[in-house]
């Protein structure tokens, strides 16, 4: 099973060492609207959860997204 960081690294093409919760689209060149959709879809598939449209639209950084997964009681790493 892939971890949250595995999926971040895979979709946004950054190394594991670079990943931290404060990262947002401003910091990651590959974080465009298309990759963000693919990222959310990959997380939903891997962790068997559904984000709401509101959550998808309002998250600002990786920590926000990680927080949603934790709030659903899912282990991600």
């Amino acid at each position: 099973m892939r971890t949250f960081n595995n999926i971040v690294a895979e979709v946004f093409k950054i190394s594991d060492a670079e990943i931290h919760d404060g990262l947002s689209s401003k910091d990651i060149p590959e974080w465009d609207s298309m990759n963000y959709l693919l990222f959310v879809a990959e997380l939903e598939k891997e962790f068997d959860l559904s984000f709401s449209m509101d959550e998808v639209m309002t998250t600002q950084c990786l920590g926000d997204i990680r927080g949603i997964i934790e709030a659903r009681g899912k282990k991600h790493g």
């Binding site: 298309m34 959709l37 693919l38 959310v40 879809a41 598939k45 559904s50 984000f51 998808v56």
Partner: protein, 140 residues
């Protein structure tokens, strides 16, 4: 113009399938060679193709792969499709005149983003010649 299907996200479930068949003609291969600029003799020169292990001209792999676009743009989901990504594996050659069957199956669906992951299998005489995964968004 042929009308594409017009499926909404709510109409689509994991496991849904769509399929169609297609025969590639000499003219299709010529048209693709002109359009893409890939004029490799394996596709265009019968005498050269005979000297290879294939023995005759092949359809371009990407011409066969273009049927993935047909699948998502016309059948599953059709009109509301926004094509996001595609993987392709060319497993067996397709020759001019071969009939291929394209089948797509929905493997994952994201309600929040409208993203579908569609497994694509293209077969010839029940053997897979091309496989891949299409990722699309169903537009509202």
């Amino acid at each position: 113009m042929v009308n594409p299907k017009d499926l909404l996200l709510k109409d689509i479930s994991v496991g849904d399938t769509a399929s169609f068949s297609r025969i590639f003609t000499r003219n299709d291969v010529l048209a693709f060679a002109r359009l893409s600029g890939d004029q490799n003799p394996l596709h265009l020169d019968e005498a050269y193709a005979r000297t290879t292990r294939f023995g005759r001209r092949l359809a371009h792999g990407m011409l066969v792969g273009s049927l993935c676009s047909t699948l998502v743009g016309m059948y599953l989901p059709g009109k509301r499709c926004l094509y996001l990504s595609q993987t392709l594996f060319f497993r067996k050659p397709v020759f001019i005149g071969d009939t291929v069957v394209v089948q797509g199956v929905v493997r994952a669906k994201s309600e929040s983003t409208g993203v579908l992951e569609i497994g694509v299998s293209i077969t010839k005489d029940d053997e897979e010649v091309l496989t891949g995964i299409a990722t699309v968004q169903v537009l509202i």
